[in-house]
């Protein structure tokens, strides 16, 4: 496999529950595929950041980071703002073009070694590795978070898969955008960048503790077009629909609270917290969130439903339920994302789902060296009769 970074695999503190293993084997019936999945969970995710284009261009940020001797890659060709920091060079700085020729001979061995140390982390990257001199080492723990450029809000530390919902939803300047479960603000700040700080973002969150983190992140990233609301997501939508019917959104993101099966690489404690009861409870909440949000989506507007879990009850079952509930008023759309994805499943245990559910995307960690994710995109075709 092609996912190992300089980081060593973590010793596993938590073990998966037998029921979880059984379910994943059902989702990944191919033995090699399953083994690849299990293997990659032993490695922490790559260090990915997103350039905050409200403050600095990707070129300028990359240059600044390379001046710190960081090794920076831009894995997705049409998304220069997305970067992976693979490590740093100790001793001498990364070469610029002028120095390249004079150093290439004497440092060839080190170059080869560096390339061996840092394998290509994704299947869709361009190779801009360049020539390095000096020893290549991993960043220190926390170094990404305490760099000056991070403190100034020039980049946001965000896992690659978590960037996909906004890439799929494509919020545009001057639109009215709702992020129903907004904290900690990764996708909200990403949307603000896409919208060039114009239009309006309603960033909703219920928990006051999480609102503080959200507000801090929006502030650090210079987001001036957002209004943070504190309300249960379902209640917020109902209130808006009933009392402020003139507010209809062009785009809505329902990044729903979920059982987090996709985050096992960064948060192995999820193994311990996971239970089928939680999955079923969350599935009900997710359906309500979906339906409430769909009610305040503009006709012609688009909505992305996403989770960071693999559980079909929280993913395809919700999508299938929504397609049935809203019938002629809803259309599931194909998604363009820069990673390998697998289609939504149409059968899970005793349940059969609509064929269109295949337009949803399953992101498995072993496919792209990311965390696990699920997303589906919808268009509202007409108002829903109550």
């Amino acid at each position: 496999m092609n996912f190992k970074s300089k980081s060593q695999p973590k010793s596993r503190k938590y073990e998966p529950k037998p029921e979880f293993v059984e379910r994943i084997k059902l989702l990944l019936p191919d033995e090699k595929d399953y083994n690849d999945y299990v293997e990659i969970l032993n490695y922490p995710p790559v260090r990915s950041i997103r350039c905050n284009t409200l403050k600095i261009s990707p070129d300028k940020l990359k240059k600044k980071l390379e001046e710190k001797s960081w090794i920076v890659k831009q894995p997705w060709k049409n998304h220069e703002e997305i970067m992976i920091v693979e490590g740093k060079i100790i001793g001498k700085k990364r070469n610029n073009q002028k120095e390249k020729d004079s150093n290439i001979k004497i440092n060839n061995q080190q170059k080869i070694q560096a390339k061996q140390d840092f394998e290509q982390p994704t299947s869709v990257g361009d190779d801009n590795f360049g020539v390095v001199v000096g020893d290549v080492v991993d960043l220190e723990p926390g170094e990404l978070g305490r760099a000056l450029e991070h403190m100034l809000g020039y980049y946001y530390i965000q896992e690659l898969a978590s960037m996909l919902p906004i890439i799929a939803l494509k919020p545009k300047p001057n639109e009215l955008y709702l992020d129903l479960c907004s904290a900690p603000g990764s996708k909200t700040t990403q949307a603000a960048s896409e919208m060039l700080n114009t239009g309006t973002i309603i960033a909703n969150e219920l928990s006051l503790g999480r609102i503080k983190i959200l507000a801090s992140n929006l502030e650090k990233n210079g987001v001036t077009n957002a209004i943070i609301t504190k309300k249960d997501g379902i209640a917020l939508c109902k209130r808006l629909k009933k009392n402020l019917p003139e507010i209809k959104f062009d785009k809505i993101l329902v990044d729903a609270p979920c059982s987090g099966e996709g985050t096992l690489r960064s948060s192995p404690i999820t193994y311990q917290m996971w239970s089928m009861r939680t999955v079923h409870t969350l599935s009900q909440i997710q359906k309500q969130l979906f339906a409430s949000a769909f009610g305040i989506l503009k006709v012609g507007g688009e909505m992305v439903y996403s989770t960071c879990t693999h559980a079909p009850e929280e993913n395809e079952q919700v999508v299938n339920w929504a397609l049935n509930k809203f019938e002629n008023a809803i259309q599931i759309e194909k998604i363009e994302i820069p990673v390998k994805s697998r289609p939504g499943i149409t059968k899970w245990k005793d349940e059969d789902y609509k064929e269109e559910v295949k337009h949803a995307c399953r992101i498995y960690p072993q496919d792209n060296n990311t965390e696990g994710f699920f997303l589906a995109k919808f268009k509202k075709l007409k108002e829903v009769e109550e």
Binding site: K55, K68, E143, R146, A147, L148, M151, L152, G153, N174, L176, N197, T198, G199, T200, I201, I202, I211, A215, S216, L218, E219, K220, G222, V223, T224, N225, A226, I227, I228, T229, K230, K231, L236, R239, L240, N243, L244, I247
Partner: protein, 171 residues
């Protein structure tokens, strides 16, 4: 609309006169002549700037229905001198960054990586300058927030959450 009153402290949207007062102080201090967007005040001193598409009326209507925690970005704080009652404006890091293109005076440029490092760790700079009062701190092309210059030092206002920790990270 229902009769339930908002539980949060009501948002105060600054009127034209109040806005002009704020901008006049900022012009005097930093050369800032114009601020676009809606200015809001929370409490006695915290100022926020919202540059989205909602009108003042739409914000108020939304606030009536849904608790609003924040509108826009925290960009400045009003400081009133207890004795003279004179008002000053301390810009936040974001305020400085948002308005940096208009800041033409009272700028102190840090002289070295070490000085920038100290500043970002939240340390006062024990240096004498001709500057007095609130100033913008700049290092190379980056604005690093607001300080207060006195005869002996430049006081540091970098909030704890934005400070660099432990060893030198600048280089």
């Amino acid at each position: 609309m229902n009769n339930e009153q908002p539980k949060f402290t009501p948002l105060k949207i600054l009127n034209e006169h109040e806005r002009s007062e704020i901008i006049a102080i900022l012009e005097d201090n930093f050369g800032i002549k114009k601020i676009e967007g809606i200015m809001l005040q929370r409490g006695k001193e915290r100022l926020f700037l919202y540059k989205g598409s909602f009108t003042e009326k739409q914000i108020k209507n939304l606030e009536y229905e849904i608790p609003i925690e924040r509108v826009g970005v925290y960009f400045a704080k009003i400081i009133e001198d207890q004795k003279s009652k004179e008002r000053y404006i301390k810009l936040s890091i974001e305020g400085i960054q948002l308005l940096k293109d208009q800041i033409t005076k009272n700028i102190y440029e840090l002289q070295s990586d070490e000085q920038a490092d100290s500043w970002m760790k939240g340390q006062d700079l024990n240096i004498k300058t001709a500057l007095r009062g609130f100033i913008a701190i700049k290092y190379k092309n980056d604005f690093l927030g607001c300080g207060k210059a006195s005869a002996e030092k430049i006081g540091n206002f970098i909030p704890k959450t934005r400070r660099l920790r432990d060893k030198s990270i600048i280089k």
